[in-house]
Symmetry: C2
Subunit: 199 residues, 2 copies
Amino acid sequence: MARRSEHSHDEIKRMVLEASETIISEEGFAALTVRRIALEIGYTVGSIYMVFENMADLILHVNARTLDDLSRALEEISPAAGLEQTVVDLAKAYLNFSGSNFNRWRLIFEHQLPKNAEIPSWYQRKADAAFYRVESLFRQLNPDLPEIEIRAGARALWGGVHGICILSLTGKSAAIELSDVESSIILLVENFLQGWKAR
Amino acid sequence: MARRSEHSHDEIKRMVLEASETIISEEGFAALTVRRIALEIGYTVGSIYMVFENMADLILHVNARTLDDLSRALEEISPAAGLEQTVVDLAKAYLNFSGSNFNRWRLIFEHQLPKNAEIPSWYQRKADAAFYRVESLFRQLNPDLPEIEIRAGARALWGGVHGICILSLTGKSAAIELSDVESSIILLVENFLQGWKAR
DNA sequence: ACCTGAACACCGTTCAAGT
DNA sequence: ACCTGAACACCGTTCAAGT
């Protein structure tokens, strides 16, 4: 034991992240422990601290990958006939992603960084990237509005879509069918845009 | 020690809940441990298991009290001139509550019950109660709509309000002023209702 | 240099033993 | 009967020691 050098640090990093994602997805965040990850990748606890500062740092990187996956899922949505329909399609894709990657998706919003920690800018950029499609659609939707209002509108609606996903998927408001959630989202998006266009 | 009988079980229960709320509010959920609660109320760890099944049960009761406080805060909002304005006022009150009771409010949505646990019906009723005002306003707003659509509309909008609160308060989308969040909420509510009325 | 694994200071939960 | 507190099986994190 010791001095194995079978994998580079980058490789170990990737192994840790992939193992973490599997554990989170299959058993939930509570099941994620250093010892468990170590077992899964065939190293010992200490090794994980070679490639990540601590658990918080590890989770930040797990979340970064989830944000990348989310951005990719939204980028894959091709523009529909109308701008409004594209917004609806994006919202559906967001719901779909949050449903299929529920535990990983939750973690993005639930994990609070230790006390006075700053969000690193490379992470913030990934978070903003997931917003990009919606924001640019809002710009096309109402090109004459000042940039700040466009961003506010996109943020308001997207916050709304997010909230419906959260409330329904965490099942706090009675048993709701997924099809009903989709209806709620379409309801929100269409009614909001109805009002928005009239500005 | 032992056999103190200074407090009834109901009193100890209340002491545990109040100590828990203080710890959560001031230091966050991560600081809540049985040992810490025991220290705070002047009993030992074992005592807490006399009055609550386990930590999950304790948190459920903490959340129940938060839901009660939230319902009360919303009930205090008196009807404004128009129905629309009342919805806006309720949304503002919701934002205000989530801001002033951030850590307690977060916990309602973040705490996932152990694997196959059911949400008790007494708890579900409290969760529904917080929805009541919004739902009845939607009924007044559009009395001819079938009940199921009214509920869907209320849920869609309230999910939206909730989402904006979450996204802005957890600060995942850049630094946002609280006044801007209020603007976002007003934006969402007004635009949504604009579309909703036209149904 | 790379990695181990024992050690430390914590957790939640239980339950025999004290009064 | 009421409550204690030691014991158990876990945590995250560190770091001297092995190869």
